[in-house]
């Protein structure tokens, strides 16, 4: 049961022979061991007690027959079901169904139509889906669009910080020159809303007041003009160069 090993493919014949001799010496240094006297008896007991289905079926013809019957019984149910499904319907077999009566009994009385009672009060302006609600939704959408484009330009672009600083400096310089605290305050409030992205619960001024401020503070007008579109979807008055922070506003394309 032994196989001589050489190592010719790794080294020369001399070292191969020396290694084979050394391997032999290693084997001699590891002598065989003896089993304890009780080993055979214990193993024989273990084999006798190691009952297993497979072993028992292999050894006992009676158990083989019983197992076969069990298997056949277990398989018979699904096989019978499949056969029944595949079997073609017998024409002699009466069809199961029900017959409709030849005369249909129809209740010819007309159904009671309930009388509709009109609302006692006319529909007012405070319905859920009225014009004010639709206007507010449109405003919110325009604000979201404006805020997103503002944030892309001043907070998310690679040069956002520089642009933002330039804008702040320019606006402060203009505000000082303008000497119009109301316009500056309006600008700051609206700018803060754009920066936060939160739709203001109430705008700090009406559309008309904003138009007035555009006229009163011409230097700040380019920075405020976009709000006219947010608040009322109006194009700013002609002659105002709209600030570059409103790049996606649809009315920009319409400007001369």
């Amino acid at each position: 049961m032994t196989e001589p090993k050489d190592f010719i493919e790794f080294t020369d014949s001399q070292e191969s022979a020396a290694l084979s001799a050394f391997a032999s010496e290693l084997r001699q240094a590891h002598p065989g061991v003896e089993l304890s006297p009780s080993f055979e008896i214990e193993l024989a007991d273990g084999l006798r007690n190691s009952w297993s289905w497979r072993g028992s079926i292999r050894q006992s013809p009676l158990l083989r027959i019983a197992a076969s019957l069990l298997l056949l019984t277990a398989l018979a149910v699904p096989v019978a079901a499949v056969v029944a499904l595949l079997q073609t319907p017998d024409s002699d077999r009466p069809e199961i169904g029900f017959q409709m009566p030849t005369e249909l009994l129809i209740d010819r009385e007309s159904p009671q139509v309930p009388r509709v009672v009109p609302p006692s009060e006319p529909l007012g302006d405070d319905l859920l889906f009225d014009g004010a609600w639709a206007l507010a939704i449109e405003q919110q959408n325009r604000f979201a669009q404006a805020s997103a484009s503002w944030q892309i330009r001043f907070l998310e672009s690679p040069i956002a910080a520089d642009l933002f600083k330039q804008r702040q400096t320019a606006v402060q310089a203009l505000a000082r020159r303008e000497n119009n605290p109301a316009a500056v305050e309006l600008f700051e409030q609206l700018e803060s809303a754009l920066q936060s992205g939160e739709y203001p619960t109430a705008f700090p001024c009406s559309s008309q007041e904003l138009i007035d401020q555009l006229a009163l503070a011409p230097d700040l007008a380019p920075f405020l003009a976009g709000w006219l579109w947010v608040m009322s979807a109006q194009v700013p008055p002609s002659g105002i160069d709209v600030d570059m922070s409103w790049p996606n506003a649809p009315w920009l394309a319409e400007l001369p």
Binding site: K5, A18, H30, S50
Partner: protein, 187 residues
């Protein structure tokens, strides 16, 4: 030979007394030695050897008639050893390692040779687990490289080269302290 082995195994499984004794005499000591050298105590090594026989007795026939029967036994022995280590069955190293048996030499030579044998066993025991396993299967149990490759799941070429380099390292270790180590040119 393979057919004889398959027949022997089948007779063992069907409860043939003669086949049982043949296998126990032939494989029992080798398996026990294998487990001892892996680090099991004597009692544990015998238990594990019994486990090998029980598993072979109860298992469906997976023995390849083309392979060697001892390789089949060692494949199962290795799996049982790995399982036992995984279950953290307590194994202790040391006292149960078999001693060297030398026949002819004088008492003084006997002491020297025994020392050398003990030293060799020590070096083998100190090998890393992979190298130890290779020396066990290739050198001590003398299984063919192809069978070892299948048992360990590595290519035959890898088995050959690792056995070569491990033996070379052990031999260099031995020759460094003992000039009696078989040198190149001496058979």
């Amino acid at each position: 030979m393979a057919n004889h082995a398959a027949d022997l195994l089948e007779r063992f499984r069907s409860g043939d007394r003669e086949a049982f004794q043949t296998l126990v005499c032939e494989m029992g000591p080798r398996l026990k030695g294998f487990f001892l050298r892996q680090g099991a105590q004597a009692a544990t090594a015998e238990d594990l050897t019994q486990d090998v026989f029980l598993r072979i007795y109860n298992s469906k026939t997976t023995y390849q008639a083309t392979g060697r029967l001892d390789a089949y036994f060692f494949r199962i022995a290795r799996n049982i050893w790995i399982d036992s280590r995984r279950k953290k069955r307590p194994v202790l190293l040391g006292d149960d390692q078999p001693d060297a048996i030398d026949s002819a030499p004088s008492p003084v030579e006997q002491v020297d040779l025994a020392d050398r044998a003990a030293q060799l066993r020590q070096w083998v025991a100190e090998l890393d687990p992979e190298a130890h396993e290779l020396v066990e299967l290739a050198v001590l149990q003398q299984l063919p490289y192809r069978e070892i490759s299948e048992i360990l799941g590595i290519p035959v070429g890898t088995v050959k080269s690792r056995v070569f380099y491990t033996l070379r390292r052990l031999r260099e270790q031995a020759s460094a302290i003992d000039p009696n180590t078989p040198s190149e040119g001496s058979p």
